[in-house]
Symmetry: C2
Subunit: 292 residues, 2 copies
């Protein structure tokens, strides 16, 4: 969980509630009961915790540590394709060792957001009742902890990763070859996030291509990947299954939620997003890709 400063051609926000666990948690809470494990500093506004609790999110896993909250400052150019980081202050995040609270270990669905794969495995090891698990990662861990990351990937059911990172991880430009490579590491599903170009899902049953929802304006893409994954996992928890057909639908729900997220600064829209709005956008995504 983080406090972000974000500037895009459409404006800027300061010290806004951010972080992968925040975006994924709020997105998942649209569909299911959520518990979040994270760390914040003593400077973290109490109102954010009250807000998350108001969404039904269990924050017993949010540790208040001595020091300042993780801070991230970035801007986007006109094309919005990539965040340009101005500053990253790890602060309390640097010594973070996630602890799973009592009552969390029975969760059926576990999403390990982007963090050191060693910590992802540490959490996963305590989730004894997990029926469907997934992780996200980033270029930093691919470069720094490839061995441990490969090990973590081998322990989950699904990997969420963006196209550039997948290419980096597997040393090939071909997303098809790279996805097959990751499937051989162990997971049943590889979900490739392509931003404005949608997402691809790979499994032993083949490939699925999810369209992006065409937006007139992308205002701020921050958290789109995390809200995508959080919504997909939340929808899977709600639907109760995890066969390929259901994961396809989960990817579409992720797409819908992420598209709302990108239309507003930070987690602005996500905070009040209703399941009815999401269902309406899912219907439009179906209409968008129908040709038979």
């Amino acid at each position: 969980m983080a406090l972000d400063d974000i500037r895009t051609p459409f404006g800027e926000v300061k010290k806004t509630l951010g972080g992968a666990a925040t975006y994924a948690g709020i997105a998942a809470s649209i569909f299911t009961k959520v518990g979040v494990i994270a760390v914040v500093g003593k400077d973290f506004p109490e109102e954010h915790i009250r807000f998350l609790n108001g969404k039904g999110i269990d924050t017993r896993g949010v540790k208040f540590a001595e020091g300042r909250t993780f801070r991230w400052s970035a801007y986007y150019e006109y094309d919005m394709a990539q965040a340009h980081t101005l500053k990253t202050e790890l602060n309390v995040f640097s010594g973070f060792s996630p602890e799973v609270p009592d009552g969390f270990s029975g969760a059926g669905h576990v999403f390990l957001a982007n963090i050191d794969p060693k910590l992802q495995m540490h959490v996963l090891g305590q989730m004894r009742d997990a029926r469907f698990t997934a992780l996200d990662t980033m270029n930093f861990w691919i470069g720094r902890s490839r061995q441990r990351l490969t090990e973590a990937i081998g322990k989950v059911d699904a990997v969420f990763i963006n196209d550039a990172e997948l290419r980096q991880l597997c040393g090939t430009h071909s997303l098809v070859k790279a996805a097959k490579h990751v499937l051989r590491m162990g997971p049943e599903f590889v979900v490739v996030k392509k931003g404005e170009h949608g997402a691809l899902l790979f499994s032993a049953e083949g490939a699925f291509s999810a369209p992006a929802f065409p937006l007139e304006d992308v205002i701020d893409p921050t958290g789109a990947g995390d809200s995508f994954a959080g919504a997909a996992m939340g929808w899977l928890a709600k639907s109760g299954g995890a066969d390929e057909k259901q994961v396809r639908k989960a990817v579409i729900y992720g797409t819908a939620v992420a598209s709302f997220n990108a239309e507003h600064f930070g987690a602005g829209k996500l905070r009040g997003l209703t399941i009815e709005e999401v269902e309406e956008r899912v219907r439009r995504l179906a209409e968008l890709s129908r040709f038979e």
Copy 2:
């Protein structure tokens, strides 16, 4: 029509049969009777004409002019996203004024491949029975002949354009806004070609997102956009209608044919591509995007 030298990380070919009219013509010939209007030099191998005639393509519109055929030489980097031109020799193309042969002017479907918009309008003016017309263009004409290009766009039913060119044409990064801008110029349909990310179709009825066919290896993307448009137009000619639903399907047929094209050097695969192979890939595209 051109003779191309192409190098990609997977190999190279020299003096291979190329050019927008060639790719579009062969692709369309899978579905319908085709006539091609183009110019070549006295050096143009007679075997290429025989090959085109063997595909049922009427080449009475191919003028043999004094001089050398248009030559293009380019290479692709590993990501295949963009052709890097090494040399362009206009040769006989520089003074080309397309003439519509007797018997061509009754064609119902007209595709104006990338060329000076002045010449596109010159041809279009002679196609008295055209029921569905489309044009393609490129950055050069957007920069050089914006006024005439806008005028030409106003005269056709559909515009085929890649995403970067659409953004350049309309001065906005938003493809949705840009497409609406082009629709206001007159055409009923705007087809945005996004290469490995598929295609978008915009019309008054909304948007359609066509997935790209996920290829293990892209060997040579040359001509993919032209074979895409040619196949779409050919399929529309065969199907006989042009409502939004049919144009959606046309875009899918274009996607299927272009995907075969990109798997081989030059027009290699296209030369022997059968309608059965295309139909099989269309079925796989349907499976690829189904989630309901």
